[in-house]
Symmetry: D3
Subunit: 258 residues, 6 copies
């Protein structure tokens, strides 16, 4: 494995696990970086974009402190993929992540072997988690974590558990949904939402009109039901891509918003 | 429910289930319509695009034969969503579907309540299922069906079961993967691929290095492993969106490539 | 493996998969051939019956068209069993199948290694599926398919999925129950029936009075409940014999009543 | 509920639970009564056979001792079915049970509402469990119990647990297979047999060639594999008929061969 | 394995399986021997206690009849653990078991490799199963058996199945809960209790306030709910220690209270 | 609910969730407080011990900082149990907890309604988790967390997740085992240990000699295997008592050793 490659794989973990506890409290990683959303539409991949490795090496250089001894010293994913060339839009998006969050979420580095896949993922993700919806961003993150707990996805529980802690300002809430969403003291509406998302995760083929009716009785519109389903569906995808590739979260998430 | 709305919901089923058995044999629905892929990049949503209902009404008008008595006379999804305004790119894409396939796949009509969601879905899907890959299009469809069988997703089994029949020219293969992929007489490589995809579907949290090693021993590269994971992951998402919304497949699929 | 044996194993698949689409539309395979039912009582096995291989060779000879390239080119079962001597009653029954259906269902060929087992199977089956009952023949086939879907039995889903399509005249209904019976638009009575049969399949030890009460409230008599249970039970047996022996359905079923 | 009916339902329990501990030690109930096997072939149902109620009343009269206080005072099944007319063959078979076993197994009383169903059940059962096979009768009963334990079937565990105790002369063996067949100290051949039967019960759709190969390596012929599958299949049927109808075993089984 | 060790492992089975049917009918093994409860408090382990092997050899000497041929000729557990030195309190407790029950329950012999573990186990157990509670001793044993059935624990089903038979004076009740507690004709209160215990066993993370409410409606106090939970919890522990070590029950249990 | 009672239920949460991040780094809660172990033996419950409520009120008074807004403002358990009288030994033990840890673990407060139950629990627990063993204390805590994750127990994951973080000095390790122990980079020995514990948790009835052999091959002695089984068993008990009673962890755990 060449030097450039290694920098790709470890850049995401460069942020310190412990001292880095106080980064962007009000800006949950990834999702709050909306720039990436419309970028793909405006800036299609171009051959002249600089290779990923130099971008990532640059990011690494920017990282203020080394990963402490307890950090998770492994590549971002367990697959040996050559870094692809990033489009200007994606390059800018990574830069924005670095500036605002202090790091580029590893899931983005994982997709960076292919600029088109990265762009479609970012566009899909940002619309889903940051776009207009009857669900708050916190609620969408709660679904992400409850689904990821059902699927026991280390990457997503770590990254989105941190997001729930940040958005809610309640560290316990994040922990509870990671461990067992039934232990969380959420309101009736949110409980119905999580029940639906977890049932849809555990036995999708058994979801029926009665389940949708329960959501409507809890106050959700049909559009909200779409969004609950779409977010739950998305993390059933992401959980599997992460598990299949042994994707490792940026160590910085662990200490965020505790 | 107004007239326009109704036309949205039933347009997709306008193609006959039985007599329509011989439509585009060589063009599996949706996936072969690559136009939609780059379209979003070029044509962002605009407010001036004509409302979906008129587009869909037009499509309905174009449909040659009425749905026979046995057709599945229900809306595309069980949610009451107002049709959104399609961007020119999406309008063109729907037109292309209608011209080449003879119908617009219902999953697209389902997403059409929101042009951004439709565009990101189409872009993501087309790259995944029609883009470059070490997996053939047939293999990607085989994964789609095996995953959908595990999740018992009526929509995806119908639409992608048809695609397997079409791409393979082997109706039995499509049926077998719908029913139990272990009954299909596939080669060792494809069997390893389906075993991985189904394990990833059934218990994502238990996938480990040994599972990836089995794929490598069966001849897959690390990039192939990404693609297997990404396709399996995608259908774990789509299965759940379809099940959550009771998405109904276009009746025409049932008779295709038998 | 001798020549005679081979003819045993492939005879059942001699009917064409595709062109044979229009065989006995109104006579679902096997079940409609009632002759076999009382035959065993009247004609006990006799040593003078001609060996199975010649019967089957004869059947093969009668088969009008060769299996197309897509056919499932494997033996009827994965066990190497010497064909047994058929009783005159069973010989006549096979002839009747051939005449009326155009083929002998592979399950009968599978049992034909032992005439007593064949006779008791046929007698049991015909009483259950064709005898008097408060359940229509279609309803019994619906149960067969829903149970076989739960157990993912390729043989039974193929053969009885065709029967549902034939009896109902609704190809979609057959597909839906194969894929996920909850997607089928059946009436309340039939839904209660299928719910009971699937619960009985998935967790027999948890069926209790409340489950029977639900059937009664849906309009079923106690005798009907016996029949639902007996049919569901029977396919839990057949699914396992078929899966344990890798029983392969006659290719002709795939194209029937589409 | 009339008097005749009641006698139908309770006759089977007339044998005492405790003092009746010493009935036919060498003749496991039902299975050892081979007369019923060929009877149906010789004696088709006739309208002139005396009504079931008088037969059963007679049996009751023959029962030596009343059921003790701890007996299971419930009807044979939870369905209210009118007793049917027994054919002379079945009448004789019941008499033979009464003479040899001291009671008529409740499963026969349960099927007695319809003589044809009773006859086909008896013929099927007797061939399977008492006919020629490479498996000993004890081995077939061991499969019956291991399958019934997986399915938690009270009726079959009781009746066939007693049969294992009787055939083996080892009360512990019967208990162990009822509780967890892995706790039984059986030989390698029998363990392979039970592993196959239980896997076939728990997840029939995942049985494949490797599983059959394991049986062959343990010394079983292909015909033996059929028999293992057929017995395991049969109890997957019987367990479900028994659970669906809340069939109650004759109290006498509990004390047999302890 | 030395001689002394062997005597440790087989002593527990010295009581005869069959002839020993009539031991302490009114004193269910272990639980009724309360002496052990306060013993630990009074008599801490001392180095001068005689080695376990001589104690157990003594017990063996006291055993009246040899194990019959059908006995389960295996060590108490599948782990090779040196017997520890018993404290005077535990020595006295074992003597008491021997005197009152005619044998020392194998679970105690299993723990006897370490006197502290034995004492804490005995103290915990005796308080739980014999101490004050709104649940009768029979009810606590019913929970033990229902939980052990869910977990398929051979040791606990055998030992506590015997206790249910003894406490209830109803052999059928013990068998039914071993096989499937839903088959037992218990009252509404007891059914609610067993439903809760089994749900808590099968999916502890899904137990919620609604489940506790059902117990309250069935007449249980909050203290009773603690006790139901504690007993169910305890057997989830014991089942696992027994299964992990292949703990074998004293053969005498099998014949008790039939 | 009286005042005294309320103080019982909320005392455990008096430690601050956030600022309290830096308490006893080297003393994992509860387990490191060995005093409780021998206490019960020396000091049996006495009537003259002061009522629990005053003890707990005292503890509350000692708590330095109020629970922040994000704390989990609920009673220790969802059962309404009158506090019992603590023995001097238990009173001293609680005092010791307060002095060394800064709080009394809520599980102890939960058991405090009955001094005998509290003492037997403490004695059992302390021997198991703090006594001599071939397993390190960290390894025992790792088992506790892996088992609790399988059972989705909020209380135990919180309290023992903190213990893993503290003992290991590796916050990531604690998180990983909470989320999916397969994501933790542990050595081969520890992985075998966790695999065994989780299998024993998920399907105890399927553990057999092969599983023990795997532990031996990983370097564990038979005594170690007992300890692994005992710890895994114990948390299968504790998880269920906690889930059944909705036991809530002290808020202070959440921030420990991050």
């Amino acid at each position: 494995m060449g030097k450039a490659k290694k920098s790709v794989k470890t850049a995401g973990k460069a942020a310190p696990a412990k001292p880095g506890k106080n980064p962007p409290k009000t800006k949950p990683a990834l999702h709050a970086i909306k720039g990436g959303k419309s970028a793909p539409a405006k800036s299609p991949p171009t051959a002249q974009s600089k290779p990923l490795q130099s971008k990532l090496a640059m990011m690494k250089a920017l990282t203020p402190k080394p990963v402490p001894a307890v950090a998770d010293d492994v590549p971002v994913i367990a697959l040996n993929l050559e870094p692809g060339k990033l489009s200007p839009a994606m390059t800018a998006y990574f830069k924005k992540c670095q500036d605002k969050l202090g790091f580029v979420p590893n899931v983005l580095l994982a997709y960076a072997f292919d600029n088109t896949k990265l762009e479609t993922f970012v566009a899909f993700y940002n619309d889903l988690m940051l776009g207009d919806s009857g669900l708050s961003k916190l609620e969408r993150e709660m679904i992400a974590v409850a689904v990821s707990s059902q699927n026991r996805c280390y990457y997503c529980l770590t990254a989105h558990g941190a997001a729930v802690r940040q958005y809610s300002g309640n560290p316990l809430l994040g922990e509870q949904i990671v461990m067992n969403y039934r232990a969380a003291r959420v309101n009736r509406r949110q409980r119905a939402m999580l029940d639906f998302a977890v049932k849809l995760t555990a036995s999708p083929g058994s979801v029926e009109e009665g389940d949708r009716e329960r959501l409507r009785r809890a106050g959700f519109t049909d559009r909200d039901i779409w969004d609950i389903s779409a977010v739950a569906g998305f993390f059933n995808m992401s959980n599997r891509v992460a598990s299949a590739t042994d994707m490792r979260p940026n160590a910085v998430y662990h200490g965020q918003a505790r």
